[in-house]
Symmetry: C2
């Protein structure tokens, strides 16, 4: 077997295993060194190839597909800084637990650290930020090496997928000539049962003793709350709702918990806590004596502070992925168990309770009053960031996906997007909470989740403008609601806003960009919303449209700050009245 035959057999075996392991989507950035892998992938009939020139956007695009499909996605690039551009998305994948297979082509050993062109040190390029790194063997066609390539691939896909999911990095040293000998049968694995390994992954489950102990703890307490942070697990939604019902505990549902929208029972869902937990009297009235928390840390800062202030009560943190999701050092029980298993198994030992304890009634009533009062945001005549999110629950079509940017949008979503039956899937990049790569992640998701709405601010949109190329080249359908407050809106809410001297230069950072131009370059349609009537009109029209559509909503950072403050003040007064009256039925 000559060099090219060996190269082809090795790469083809790897690619065949990739498909066998459930990988369907590959995001490829063009390059020379990766040629054999790209060409072999292009020959496989079951792979979807997405070609994306900017590797930073490409990696986020892959992340978006993986988030939407919950299947590992492979990203492939050539040697050099191309691979370094993947870094932000890889870190996001690690923290938000998304399966990603990072395949980088590299110079072979003899061309490393000797000044060869486009050669960087790719060994452990991503440091601790990947679950597994493998420096692949140089391709060879010997049976042992074919088995090796297949096994590493299967293992890498399983490692990426195994909970907590995350990225793995395989680095391929490739020698010239880089052209494989493509032939029809190259993906056939004749000795298949003998030649690869299927991997079966378990989930964490607790001993009966631990389950009983947890049940005993919960049976002893009536003032309990369940907190669901960002989590993506269809089975969990139903089990946690049943669990809460049995316990008669409210569920504080983060916008990314997938509990705010859907056909599940919503009686116990608390969705306005981000507002009312800002108020001292609410926090006092609602002091829990036990907390059970699922998922990542919730978005709400008010809730975070509430948890911190209640570090005197037992706080049970459940994590099927063995992280340590407790920046508050508030956990008293760190429970490593599949979240659905926990709800199901502990439920067996929960003693029946009377319905609607007065504690639960308080939560439901204060939540209801808060929402009623927050709804006054609908009366704001000017374009308003908060109002936009409030309207979205009404306006979005059923089963839409709502991808939300970081900084202000996710916080406004948390404050103003309330529970509904529409089955709206809410997505975001809440691993590292970056403003980078949001456009591409959303577009990746849009390849499988339709219709998809992306709501984000102007700095976030700017950061990943290059991502829009995918919308053009792949003819994707997406509606972008671009909130343009000409700079970094969130900083107006932070202490530096009180120091005006360098504020606009360092934090406000107005870009003064008319995005219409760039949207037109990418073949999108653009509409600048002038008022709410216009917004309703263009939003309705947009429901029928295809392609990339951007509706820009211009707001003002100072007005936005005062709108939020005024609203919180007025809701605070209303809620105080309710609490003082002691009448919680609403």
């Amino acid at each position: 077997m000559n060099h090219q035959e060996g190269l082809t057999a090795y790469i083809a075996a790897f690619v065949a295993e990739l498909v066998h392991a459930g990988v369907k989507d590959i995001v490829i950035s063009p390059g020379s060194r990766s040629t054999p892998i790209a060409l072999v992938m292009a020959e496989h009939p079951e792979l979807n190839l997405h070609i994306h020139v900017d590797e930073r956007s490409a990696a986020f695009f892959g992340l978006g597909i993986a988030k939407a499909t919950k299947k590992p996605v492979a990203i492939l690039c050539t040697s050099g800084t191309a691979a370094a551009n993947y870094y932000p998305a890889i870190i996001e994948a690690t923290i938000s637990r998304v399966p990603l297979m990072v395949l980088t082509a590299d110079r072979p050993h003899e061309l490393r650290d000797v000044g060869a062109p486009q050669a960087i040190d790719q060994i452990h390029l991503y440091g601790h930020n990947v679950k597994w790194f493998v420096e692949m063997s140089p391709p060879e066609g010997k049976e042992e090496m074919i088995r090796y390539a297949r096994t590493v691939c299967a293992r890498a896909a399983a490692t990426a997928t195994r909970y907590p999911a995350g990225p793995v990095h395989l680095n391929f040293p490739l020698r010239e000539p880089l052209i494989p000998n493509l032939y029809e049968e190259m993906f056939e694995l004749p000795e298949r049962t003998n030649g690869y390994v299927d991997i079966h992954d378990g989930k964490l489950s607790l001993s009966t003793e631990t389950i009983k102990n947890l049940a005993t703890m919960l049976n002893a307490e009536k003032h309990g709350v369940i907190i669901c942070g960002p989590i993506e697990d269809a089975a969990f939604t139903e089990t946690v709702v049943s669990f809460a019902k049995l316990l008669q505990f409210p569920i504080l549902a983060d916008p990314l918990s997938q509990l705010r929208s859907g056909l599940h029972e919503q009686e116990l869902i608390i969705d306005a806590y981000d507002t009312f937990l800002r108020f001292e009297d609410s926090k006092e009235a609602l002091k829990p004596n036990v907390v059970i928390r699922f998922g990542a840390m919730p978005v709400s800062k008010a809730l975070t502070i509430f948890l911190k202030e209640n570090r005197d009560v037992p706080q049970i943190v459940v994590d099927g992925g063995s992280g340590w999701r407790d920046p508050l050092t508030a956990a008293t029980e760190m429970v490593y168990c599949d979240e659905s298993f926990l709800c199901r198994d502990v439920s067996k030992y929960i003693e029946p309770r009377e319905e609607q304890s007065s504690y639960l009634e308080k939560w439901i009533s204060i939540n209801k009053h808060t929402k009623m009062n927050l709804s006054s945001i609908r009366d704001i005549p000017k374009l308003s960031e908060g109002k936009l999110f409030h309207l979205l629950a009404d306006l979005l079509p059923e089963n839409a996906t709502l991808f939300v940017g970081n900084s202000m949008p996710i916080r406004d979503l948390d404050s103003f997007f309330f529970a509904n039956k529409k089955g709206i899937k809410v997505m975001g990049n809440r691993g590292a909470n970056g403003i980078d790569g949001i456009v591409s992640t959303a577009l990746g998701a849009a390849t499988v989740s339709q219709p998809l709405y992306l709501v984000l601010g102007d700095l976030t949109f700017f950061h990943d403008l290059n991502g829009l190329l995918a919308a053009k080249l792949f003819k994707l359908n997406v509606t972008v609601l671009l909130i343009n407050n000409n700079g970094g809106g969130i900083f107006s809410f932070l202490p530096q806003a009180e120091h005006p001297k360098h504020f606009e230069m360092l934090f406000g950072t107005p870009l003064e960009l008319d995005f219409r131009h760039v949207i037109e370059m990418y073949g999108g349609s653009y509409e600048k919303v002038v008022d709410w009537d216009h917004f309703h009109h263009v939003f309705a029209k947009d429901l029928e449209a295809k392609g990339l559509r951007v509706l820009e909503i211009s707001t003002d950072r100072d007005t936005n700050l005062s709108e939020h403050r005024d609203l919180w003040n007025s809701v605070s007064q209303e809620i105080s009245k309710v609490i003082k009256s002691g009448k919680y039925e609403g």
Copy 2:
């Protein structure tokens, strides 16, 4: 001293030392965690702050300033993936030896690896790709810690600058509240002589014995060549020219050697080798018996192959920075010595030679004939990539800076941009040869080097479109010559071009973008060149213009390939005739 006073004193001491160490330019990307450093920097009267939202572009922008000033530049960002976006520029800085001080804000220890927002693992975030990593102490105002902050800063700046220069990474854990107490005297260092250290760096120089031995080697050989790859050292230009004259060796001058343009003597400069070293008879006629090489590996593949084919002769590689710049395993002597010192010191022991040996005459004559024949590219009536570079030597104003993109542009520059007296400084990112960050690096250079011309292809331009924001916000002056061949032109020259099945999808990658839109968004002027007359007209007009100007030259990838091939064939025949005739005077 309370938290804020300690924070301020510590950061102010660091920033004061930064200025003392020669840092003038800071590129800041907005964020919350980095607030105290950004605010203190903004107060310093001697710092230029450049605010750049996209950290990837920001880091390349800083790289560009550092390349142009040869002084360390600091880049500052907040915690999270912001810092990961710096990675490509950091790797480029490492390999191309540019001093960069990477300052990242981080969550304090208690908020790490516990699910806190915007917290990633920033310890050794850039792995082996920085010269030095320091996890800074949490800020404190005690005298010991002030001395620590000042010493680390001085040491970091010296480490970044010390040859081979490169990036250092300082990670700052910062606790809330993040607002410093700014006051006028905060940068004063009362116990200055007692409180910091000035760092004095030496350069490598050889023992007299080694120098004599090298001179003996060179005295024994008459068929020698000097090769100057990318190198930036003003002192070197003069010394190497004298050295070559003494030895009567030709200097094969890479376009980034800074030897192709300037007031130095150019008699021995060989600038067309990339063409004639493609031909077997030239290579045979010019076989050397000793090679001395300075700088990074040259761009020319023809020259690289020539060096590889001559591994039977002594090849002396000189490097003042102790790398291992020999992907060919061709070096017989690896000499670690400042390049100028070597030329100066060895010269003392070189025996006088007769002028113009027949070997040297061959180089000069073949070079002259090649250039004469290549000049026929001027007759191509259509817009042509090679012709553009040939014209540039005539058209560029004196002392202009020419920043050139990777892939085809740097290669065409090598082939067609010949020696001249104009003092044109040629810049490029030839560390990792990426197509990323070129716009930003050039714009960073444009803050100090004027007038600046950037020549690059459409994929490279696309990759860093975000970099154009700097041109708008900082009102920079730059002329972009955008060669748009709608995709990756270099791949047409590679073996995959012979496999048309997936070629356009995987390698050609046409983007079909009308860049006019995005240039207008960034307030630039755009001109689509229709023919050469038009080009000359707009280029001349452009000489008087300010701001961002883009002249787009559309070419066709297939035509470009055949133009190059036709030209090489015709030059090859002409050069063969010269060699066969044995008459080298030209």
